[in-house]
Structure formats: structure tokens, C-alpha cells
């Protein structure tokens, strides 16, 4: 009896912490009952593989949104990283060196965003809207807007497996677990939450908010680059439209996962669940054989639901504990660090 009660309590607590968990389970159950072939190991593995690049990029975006920022350039960073990966001097390097170059590129792009946001009074929305164009233009310049096949050694990260587990899933798991650990157990993670939750209090407490904000964007850049490595490896080629509109999907996953667009509240676990739900819905739509127009309606509906839920959470939080007027751009009313 006690064991049953304990299990119930744990489940209840888990559901309270991650309200999306039962949503995902119900969705999987419903689709499994509705469509023959959905409930198979191969299909679940397919969903996990497809969700992996999204999870990786969305973990980075979670950090950015936690600081009350936003990064619209994530899709363009993905493309520029892919373009550099396929360029002649880089593609010819040993595999490990290519990955190192792309990761460094990601950090550089993210740092550019982060420093611009942290050191100026320009809202992140505007900064990253500008860099979105810069990165996509640079990627187009490098590729000449042509499709470029990826050498076989660079495809393993998207198509290989280790002990039967596809590499993208392993990579996404490492990023999610690492991201969750840093988020909840490290000083940087706590600073990120503090900087987004109450920027003025964070500054008053002497936290290095500018470095924290720059660090969050740099991390998002790094993870966008890792997502790029995974995605292009899966595609087997770099194409000019890679990452176009990807920012919307990534932000939807993060917001759906419960991270507040106004900063300070959220979780990596929620983001992972958000990404898995989006991918499951997409797969379910193909299994349903519905009209192609319904795809857009459902995807738009999920985004609308996520935004409305985020708005409701914000209203609740504001009514509960926070003063009005938190909607300030980075850098406003903060002394120099």
C-alpha cells in the first residue's frame, strides 16, 4: 500500500514539475492506438533521431530566453556553420578538427550576439534579427547558394550509432543532461536564472550579468553549431535553405516546454519534452494521411497554445510575486559592469 502511495506521489510530483510529460505520453498512446505501425521501436527511434537537432539547439535557446533574451539568428547560425563545414579548406581537415572549427565558429557567432546584446542597449530581438541576415548572407556567400555534398567522414555524427543507439540521440542526450546539470547545479546556471528573473537585483547583488548574458548567447551559438553538424550529416549535403525558419521551431519548443519568454523561469527537461512533442505531432500528421494544409494549421495551433500558456503563466507569476514593468531590454537601467 505504501509502495503504491509512494509511486503515486512520485508520479504526481513529476507531473507537477513537468506538466508536458503526461501530454507526451497521452499523445504517444493516442497515436499508437489510432495508427497501425506507429507504436514500433523503429518509429520511436525515428522520432527521437528527428527531434535530436531540435533538442540540441533548443537547450541553447533555453539559456538565452532564461536571461529574458531571444535569439532569432539560430537558423542562420546553423546554415553558416554548415556552409563553413562544407567549404574547401575546412572539409578537407581531419574529422575532429572540422568539429572543433565548427564549434569554435558557433561560439564566435553566439558571442557576437551576446556581446552586442550585453554591451549595448539594443534589444536582443533587433540584434539577432540583424545577425540573422548577416549569418545567412555569409553562408550564401561561402556556398554560392549551391548544394554541396558532405564527405562521408562528416556524416557519421548524423547517421552512425554506438551500441545500437543512433549518434544524434546520444548527442542530444549528452547535451540535455549536461545542459540540465549546468542549469541547476552550476554557478553560471544560477546566474542565468537570476539575470533573467530580476535583472536589477542581480546587478545590485554584484553578479556579472553582462558576462552571464554573453555566455548564454555563446552557449546557444555553440549548440546551434552542434545541431548544424548533426542536421547536415543527416541530410548528407549542405543546402541553401537549411535552417530557414528554424528559429520559430526552436523557440516554440522552448516556450512549449514552459520557459517564460520574459526570463527567469524554465527548465531543460521541459524544453526536451517540448521538442519531442513537436516532432511527435509532425510524425503523427504524416501517419494520419491528412491534407497538407492541416499540417500548417496544427503546427500554428501548437505555437498558439504554447504562447497562450506562456502568457497565462506570466500573468499568474506577475500577479503573485513580481512588480509590473519587468519588460526591459538588456542593459537598460544597469550600471556598467
Amino acid at each position: 500500500m505504501n509502495r503504491v502511495t509512494d509511486t503515486y506521489r512520485r508520479l504526481h510530483a513529476a507531473t507537477r514539475r513537468q506538466p508536458l510529460l503526461p501530454v507526451l505520453l497521452v499523445l504517444l498512446l493516442a497515436l499508437s492506438l489510432a495508427y497501425h505501425g506507429f507504436a514500433s521501436v523503429t518509429n520511436f527511434r525515428n522520432i527521437a533521431v528527428q527531434a535530436s537537432p531540435l533538442i540540441i539547439a533548443a537547450v541553447g535557446m533555453t539559456y538565452v530566453i532564461m536571461t529574458a533574451g531571444i535569439d532569432l539568428s539560430v537558423g542562420s547560425m546553423l546554415f553558416l556553420a554548415a556552409a563553413i563545414e562544407s567549404s574547401h579548406p575546412v572539409a578537407g581537415l581531419p574529422t575532429a578538427a572540422v568539429f572543433a572549427v565548427i564549434c569554435a565558429t558557433g561560439v564566435g557567432m553566439g558571442l557576437l550576439n551576446g556581446l552586442a546584446v550585453a554591451l549595448t542597449r539594443v534589444p536582443a530581438l533587433i540584434v539577432t534579427l540583424a545577425t540573422m541576415q548577416v549569418f545567412r548572407g555569409a553562408g550564401g556567400h561561402i556556398t554560392g547558394q549551391q548544394n554541396i555534398d558532405l564527405p562521408a567522414n562528416l556524416r557519421g555524427i548524423g547517421t552512425g550509432s554506438l551500441l545500437g543507439v543512433p549518434t544524434p540521440i546520444l548527442l542530444a542526450a549528452v547535451v540535455a543532461l549536461g545542459g540540465g546539470f549546468v542549469f541547476s547545479r552550476s554557478t553560471f546556471g544560477r546566474y542565468v536564472q537570476a539575470a533573467g528573473s530580476s535583472p536589477d537585483a542581480a546587478v545590485d547583488a554584484g553578479l556579472p550579468t553582462r558576462r552571464v548574458i554573453a555566455g548564454a548567447y555563446a552557449l546557444a551559438g555553440l549548440l546551434a553549431a552542434v545541431a548544424s553538424l548533426t542536421e547536415t550529416a543527416r541530410l548528407g549535403a549542405v543546402q541553401p535553405s537549411i535552417g530557414q525558419g528554424y528559429e520559430l521551431t526552436v523557440i516554440t519548443a522552448v516556450v512549449l516546454g514552459g520557459t517564460s519568454l520574459f526570463g527567469g523561469r524554465g527548465s531543460i527537461g521541459g524544453t526536451v519534452l517540448g521538442a519531442l512533442i513537436l516532432t511527435t505531432v509532425q510524425t503523427g500528421l504524416v501517419f494520419s494521411g491528412t491534407s497538407p494544409y492541416v499540417f500548417d494549421i496544427v503546427r500554428g495551433g501548437v505555437l498558439l497554445a504554447a504562447v497562450l500558456a506562456a502568457g497565462a503563466r506570466w500573468q499568474k507569476t506577475r500577479a503573485g510575486s513580481r512588480p509590473a514593468g519587468r519588460l526591459v531590454p538588456h542593459g537598460t537601467d544597469r550600471p556598467a559592469a
Binding site: S40, D149, T159, L235, G236, A237, P292
Partner: protein, 349 residues
Amino acid sequence: MEHHRKKPKGVIVRTSGVAWCVTVVAGASLALAACSSSANSGSAGGGSAAGKKYTIGVSFDLLNAIRQAEKTSIQNAAKAPGYSVVFDVADQDAQKQASQIQDLIATQKVNAVIVIAQDGQQIAASASLAKAHNVPFLAIDRSIADQQDVTFQITGDPVSDGKAVASQFLAAAKTTPLKVLELVGGLTDQNAIGRRDGFNAAMAGQPGVTIVSQVPTDWNPTEALDGTSNALQKDPTINAIYIPSDFLLPSVQSALTAAGRLAPVGDPKHVFMVTIDGDQNGCKAMQAKTLDADVATPVADFGKQAIAAITAALGGKAVTPKAVEAKGLILNQANYAATSGQVWGCASS
């Protein structure tokens, strides 16, 4: 704001720093733009039969493999009459395209404009502006809704191309019944809709073919990859795929490879595939015999006929016909050796 009042000096220093940054970035951008525009301008003496120099302004919606080929076809066709070409790309932004065309007409004073419209409705305002300045206005590849101020238009015929694809499926279905996965491009794109509708109309009620799944891709390679994987998972008996553009072909090939289904013609595992465009991806796959047919867009005709229409218009002659729909050329495994030379993507593959 309070901070501004307390430390005005710091603010001034920071503001001037930002101003310097903006200046440096703007300067670098202008230098880059200057390099790009000189690289993008094709000049062949800038002359004409009458001895007057003519410049053609070109505004594309975007730049990808087929647009590169279209750009080359315009530049090549402009060489004979000696026209200069000024080239702009609107990055899929209809507003930006309108500004670029205004700049071409009002500031750069080009003698004619060729566009690939990002938005077939909005571009009508640019056509009216050109007419007001007495500048011939031509559209290629994508049609313009209001033809009133358009001097000449040459486009592909997406419905006819879709029907041509269907003819390949129907021919193959005579020997093997086909269960078809139909990928669809952007649902707001007239070419994608035309290619879909032409295909569906020709396939409707035909024996031996069943469309088992329709998956939208929004012209996005990742969605094409995931959509194909999901459809193959849903129905492993799918043995034919309609790909509405060659540029989605690598995604489909990756999905087939992952499913162990990418095999050449004649292999029992082979999936029958037909695409449209005729780019390098298509030609490579035709050579590898993993692709059965490709309906190639007659890109070279676009440039030739547009420049011919400009020459007529600038010479004061009537341009007839005002609109041309160029049908695609069917390239398949049977005619590959004889026909591939006429396909724009095969020349460079």
C-alpha cells in the same frame, strides 16, 4: 534613464563607441557590396545596335542553383546585343524587391527590368512604376498576376510539368503497380501548387497507381527528409516517390539510404522516383541510375527570350506574344544520352 543622468560621460563614451562600430560595419558592408556588385554586373560593352548604351536591371527573389543558371542565361543572352546587366537579389522579401526595383528605375536609370517576383501580386506596383518611367518590365520563371503593365513574361508551365511527371509514373505502372509518396513544395507557392495539381489531375483514376501519402515540405530539406522517413515508416510498401524539385532530392536520398532503400534501376529494392528542374542533383542521380526521370526547366530559353523581347521593346517594336509558358523537357533513363546535353544542370554535373 536614471543611469544616463548619473553618468553622462560614460554614456557619451559608450554611444560614441557604438557610433564607431556602426561606421566601421557600414564601411565594411559598403566595400563588400561594391565588390559584390562589380562581381555581379555583367558588362559586355554596354552598347546596342543604335549605338546607345543600354543597361538591364535584374531583380531575383533569391539565389540558388536554378537562379544561378537563370542569371547565367540572362548574362549570356545579353552579350550579343552588348547590354550591361545590374543584378540584385531580394532575399525572399517582397518589400526589399520593390525597393530594389525602384532604385534600378529611378536612381540607376536602367533601360529595362527583368524580375523573378517574390510575390506575384505585390510586384504589380513595380510594373506600374516601370511603365510610368517608360521602362520595359519583364518577368521570368514566376508569373505576375496583373499583366497590364508587363511587357513580356516567360515562365515554366508547372501544371504541364506535373502532368509530364505523371506520364512517367503511368508508363512505369504498366509493368509494376506503384504506391506513391507525393512530396509537395510550399503550399503558398504557385509553382508548387501547379506541379501538385498537374500531377494529381493526370494520376486521378488511373490504373496501377495509388497515391498513399501526401507530405508538405515547405521547400525545406529537413522537412523533406523527415517527411519521407515518416511516410516510409508508415507504409514500407511505398515503391515510388514524386519529388517536386531536384533540390529536395538529396533529402529523399538520405531518407532512402537510412531505410536501406536507395538502389539503382533494376535492383528489387529500387524506388521509382521522378523530379522536376533538371539541376546537378538530378543529373548526378540520373547518371547513378537512382533517379528514373527528371522534367527539366528550359532555363536557357528564359534569358534568350527575355533579352529578345527587350531588344524589340527598346527598338519600338511590339512584343508578341506577351506571355510564354515553356514546357519542361523530359529526361529519363531511355533518352539520357541523347537529351542530357540540353539540360542545364547536366552541363555542369
